[in-house]
Symmetry: C2
Subunit: 240 residues, 2 copies
């Protein structure tokens, strides 16, 4: 059974394995959550599934647990990338949180013609992905990639990875996912300011791209991310 | 053409109609957004569509516009209610925002067995719905109903309104929407703490309820709201 508190650790997990906690984790577990020696916590590391574990040492600057038994096998999400243009801080955090909950394998912030952000706090976004995985019962944490130019990513696009492209301007001009096959995929969420005409033409012309519409209203980017992931997960993902 | 700034007003709209602004609206338009006499603004009131309008008077405590021409007809969303259990402040705001963007007709906060909130700021939530409608290009603003007990709402449930019920505990136990018909609908989003066993049994036994799963991961309530609305809009709503 999964414990109420779930914690992501970098350390390997296995029966009888001792797992050290760093200062931040100890502060969270013993300070904030008021746990102590003997408390049961679920640990996961993105590789070895989820392990019911027991606190064996609780200090202000660290502590340790011992892994008792595996309570969940590693569940990999589908091989799905989520590409998005960073927004204001809170909305960017939300997109990372939501992509993690909804089952993305990798999160790629991209700069588009109308993106304002020229840098991101990659470490902070990665921490948000960890927190979302702890919350949503996942055993996998998607990697948040460094910020890169959309154009450069498209120029080096991996073979056979298909791209679902959500653009309000394309509503009604749907190339449905019905004909799309399984395999590696990516979803591109447009920036709040929309794509430039050049980007739109470039994206539509890509042989691996599918344009879909997300209804007649304009969605904020974080809403669009969840809606697009829902459409994809239902047709091609692990919601079947 | 829609102006860059969209503003919701209570006043009737029509060609040549003069529309007064209250103090808050004047502060927003002239103070925050730096508009003045002659500026073009899009107005909508939830009934008469969207009207391109021009500022004719700009003061600190008020102002007025004249409606020039209709730029969009009233677009009603489908007859869909969104029921949700209020959460912490920011997440509750987000659910109202997202339900508006995604095209709900009415938003009903409900108290469940595991809901902590015993009151809501209905005026603040309604203001969030207005703001979301201004942002998303909609011409309709869903009403936010007063907080009520779920049990009471179910006991007085309107004839022929179907209910889509999203419950993580029911994953895999899907009664798909495929067999569901059009007509008035409601979507119920579970509270973060889940439903009680009694509620779950009650909901499953309702003759007008459909249980659907939103994938193998646990979603936060605001994420679940967008995902559920996507599922519904694709099958039964106006995304077709």
């Amino acid at each position: 059974m999964t414990a109420k508190i779930r914690l992501y650790v970098e350390h390997p997990l296995g029966a009888g394995q001792s797992v050290p906690l760093d200062r931040d984790q100890a502060h969270y577990l013993f300070g904030v959550m008021r746990q102590g020696v003997g408390a049961q916590i679920s640990l996961f590391n993105g590789r070895d599934g989820e392990w019911l574990s027991e606190v064996t040492e609780a200090g202000k600057r660290g502590g340790s647990l011992v892994a008792i038994q595996q309570t969940r096998a590693l569940q990999m999400p589908p091989d799905l990338w989520v590409l998005f243009a960073p927004l204001k801080k809170a909305r960017t955090d939300f997109i990372v949180e939501k992509a993690t909950e909804m089952g993305a394998a990798r999160i790629l912030p991209v700069q588009t013609d109308f993106t304002n952000a020229d840098r991101i706090r990659q470490d902070r976004l990665q921490a948000h992905a960890v927190e979302a995985a702890e919350q949503c019962g996942g055993t996998y944490v998607p990697e948040v990639a460094p910020l890169q130019k959309l154009e450069r990513l498209l120029s080096n696009w991996p073979d056979r990875r298909q791209l679902m492209f959500c653009d309000e301007a394309e509503a009604g001009n749907n190339r449905s996912l019905a004909g799309a096959g399984p395999g590696p995929w990516a979803i591109l969420i447009g920036p709040e300011g929309g794509f430039s005409d050049a980007e739109r033409a470039r994206l539509a012309a890509l042989p691996f791209s599918y344009t879909i519409s997300l209804g007649p209203r304009i969605l904020r980017a974080d809403t669009a991310a969840v809606a697009a992931l829902t459409v994809w997960q239902q047709v091609l993902g692990d919601w079947g």
